[in-house]
């Protein structure tokens, strides 16, 4: 079973900052990162960029990223920018 290396709650008001914080924790981490999107209603282009950057770093560190409670609209955005396949999704 994958070890949860990082658990980060993403705040709707500061999505980019929280993602950056999570990314910083990835260096040297192992196992799985869980980003809790429960409170995120929408994402904007900067959030998409931050997510892409984070998942690139995670790949380099062989860390898996799981997004928790992503709403349907945000999920669709991730599909449209072809990022969805790079994450796993948990409820």
């Amino acid at each position: 079973m994958a070890m949860t290396a990082v658990w980060q709650t993403i705040d709707d008001e500061r999505v980019v900052l929280d993602l950056q914080t999570a990314e910083e924790k990835l260096d040297g981490a192992e196992g799985e990162v869980v980003l809790d999107f429960s409170s995120v209603h929408r994402v904007d282009p900067s959030a998409i960029r931050a997510l892409e950057k984070l998942v690139n770093t995670a790949d380099k560190n062989a860390v898996k990223v799981a997004l928790r409670n992503v709403n349907v609209d945000v999920y669709k955005v991730l599909k449209l920018v072809k990022l969805a396949s790079r994450f796993s999704f948990v409820a």
Partner: protein, 888 residues
Amino acid sequence: MIASEVVEERVQIPLAAEVLSEERVAYLEGLINQARTAAAVFSQFSQEDVDRIVKPMVLAGLQQAQHLARLAVEETGIGIMEDKFLKNMVATEFVYNYIKNNRTVGIIREFPESNLVEMAEPIGVIFSLTPITNPTSTVLFKCIMAVKTRNAVIFSPHPKAWRCCAEAVRIMYEAALKHGAPEGVFTCLESHTLQDNAYLMQHKHVGLIDATGGPGAVKAAYSSGKPALGVGPGNTPVYLEKTANVNPAVVDIIISKTFDNGTICASEQTLVIDHEIYDSVLKKFADLGAHICNEKETRLLERTVIDPETGFMQPVAVGQKATDIARFVGLSVKPDTKLLIAQIKGVGREHPLSVEKLFPLLAVYRAKSTEEALKVCIDVNHAGGLGHTAVIFSRNDQIIRKFGEVINAGRIIVNSPGSVGALGGVYNDLVPTFSFGCGTGGGNSTTDNVNIYHYLNIKRVARRTQAHMWFRVPNQIYFNMNAVENLRNFPSRSTIIVTNPALEHMGHVDIVRRYIPEQTHVHVSVIPDAEPEVKVVMQGVEALNFYEADQIIALGGGSVIDAAKIMKLKYESPDADLEELAAPFLDLRKRVVRYPTEKVHRARLIAIPTTSGTGSEVTPFAVLTDKEHGRKVTLADYSLSPDVAIVDPQFVMSMPKGLTADTGIDCLTHALEAGVSSYASPYTDSNAMQAIRMVFKYLPVAYEHPDDAEARCMMHNAACIAAMAFSNASVGVNHALAHAFGARFGIAHGRANALMLPHVIAYNASVPSKFMPSPYTQGYVAHKKYATVADLLGLGGHTTDEKVKNLVTAIEQLLDRLGFPRSIADLGISREEFERAMPELTKLAFDDPSWRSNPRMPLMSELADLFWKAYQGRGPAKVDSMPQQQTA
């Protein structure tokens, strides 16, 4: 579509991104990535979010309209600043006026009466080419449309209009961003190379190419393999017809042709004038500032403003003033000349000025007749303007309509200026646009004024519609012993009784005659004792005509009543084509043929059945036998239903045992098939179930004790009640098999039904290998309905499976009691003969409309299988693969 492009972009845009440097590719990928992210993020926006952004964009465009117009004229050297200012206003204010209340997010339109809802799905990234002639207005227009529809746009402006377009994009982008649009929603290529365009056109993340440009660009867009909106070249013919109001027409044409120095591709190119008004029209033009060229001047223009090699206009002339053109070619005109007018004698390469001229030079043609005028307009239309725009000035509606019919143009502008008229929203209610779709004539996919709906994928959510159903039977049914007395209530001048010889001999006709009002002239038409054929029917029609009948009494079994129904049809509507009316159909309400409603005569049809089976006295069906082709043809329409049914058991007391059994089983088959039909409703179920109960109780009694008046009466009523069910729920595969078999081997209808019945119930009660697609079907319930029948008959059983088996057994016992043969083989038909007939039998059965309402859609192989089962005969019923969850 834009003139200068017509000339300049004749070079094909390379389709593959051939020679792009790595940096250039990275730059283009960056643009795509940015736009794609913006479009994705945009998908989360609500209608309110979008509308909140659109309005300030429109206001920003309005505020900068003059600034952008000036920039456009300065940079392109084309057109008139004041007119470009107006175009920018139309592109913002008029477009906004059209879109402001239109929904473009979520549900955009609802059609409650058809249970349909349209929903919007954005396109994503749009790659957009914009022209040199309407540079800033096109950008404003497209930005507003894109935000309204939640799309991102990458602009590639015409290279000679790049700066003004980039500025328009900047103004729109800043306004959009400020009010919440996603970052990167608009970008503009920094410079324009054909390779850049090719790369972006073929990019997998571009959803749509919107090419407002010359033929080269449009062709490249359409060849890219991407969905594309393109525009076509124009060559607008104008017909100034003699009934037109000339003064306003001339002003309108001057307004239009000089608007932005003629750069709008919808502007007038060749004016065809009826000769009656020709001279006065030209004088009017001259009075209002046009220079009418003489022959020599016309020749000069032909040589100078048209490229002699290509036959197209010279790009340098595009969007220039009339006086500048005159000066340039060496023509002397008054300084306030607005328009040059050159008279031409025809259209085509020999008449150089008959092509598109996007500058204030108008060709005029004198037409000797409307006919000639229309033909010249067609010629102009076909000389490079197919699908684009045409104009007519006339007060003759017929000529306007004819013009509309013969001219192929997406916009046919009536009594108003072509160019501004085509833009929409100003002179008419066309949708405001800066992209004119030119249909297939112009190499485009639409003739529409391109608008927000072309920037959306429209999704249709189709909810299941509740199928309308009905219960239709004759409104007068008299039943029980001596019901025939009711004939007294039907006055008639001339009545024809249609019957069989046997029935006449039995005295039935005399009984009937007794109750026909005295003053009625009665004629008896005796038809042969057989299932009806066309020849027999037509003889009956002759009698009806001869006696000018106003009433038909059909006294007999199904054969007689069916014959009378068709006689009435042919008598009332002699042109009815029986062959055509019998054409196959899937759904009664959607079928191709229509039964005649126009009637030459009218005759009341009173049906008095003398058998207790077909129920033809209340049904909308009539079965004809086609001996020549060995088949039965079923006619079905409620107009065939008798007007009155008299179900009087005194006429069935004489039925021999065999006929009692045959017709009784026909009645049972009707009720069972209607019961499990996909058209069954609570209305038909109640009749079907009641009829089944009556048959099981009274048929054996009527068979064994033919004089039992109660049993006869109940069976007579049962037949009519079952018929009410199947008149509305139809029958099923049993009848399809019986019709085919009966016709091929000359077996009575009821008997043929009986041979199939147990096998068909077992078949219908098994899980279908193919369900019948039907809007009426609510799940698969046939087996449960059979189980309900078993319960109703008190046959016992715990599971659905057991109950169905018990029903089949009960039917087999009934058939045995009625002395039916157990198999087709028992009829003396050899296996070899049956095998030989099989291909034809299955074909006939499959063609028969009866099974269309069967709960199980029969495959040809299954029809053959059922025939073979009937051939081999029944034994203990075998029900294969019953559904699992059966506890009824």
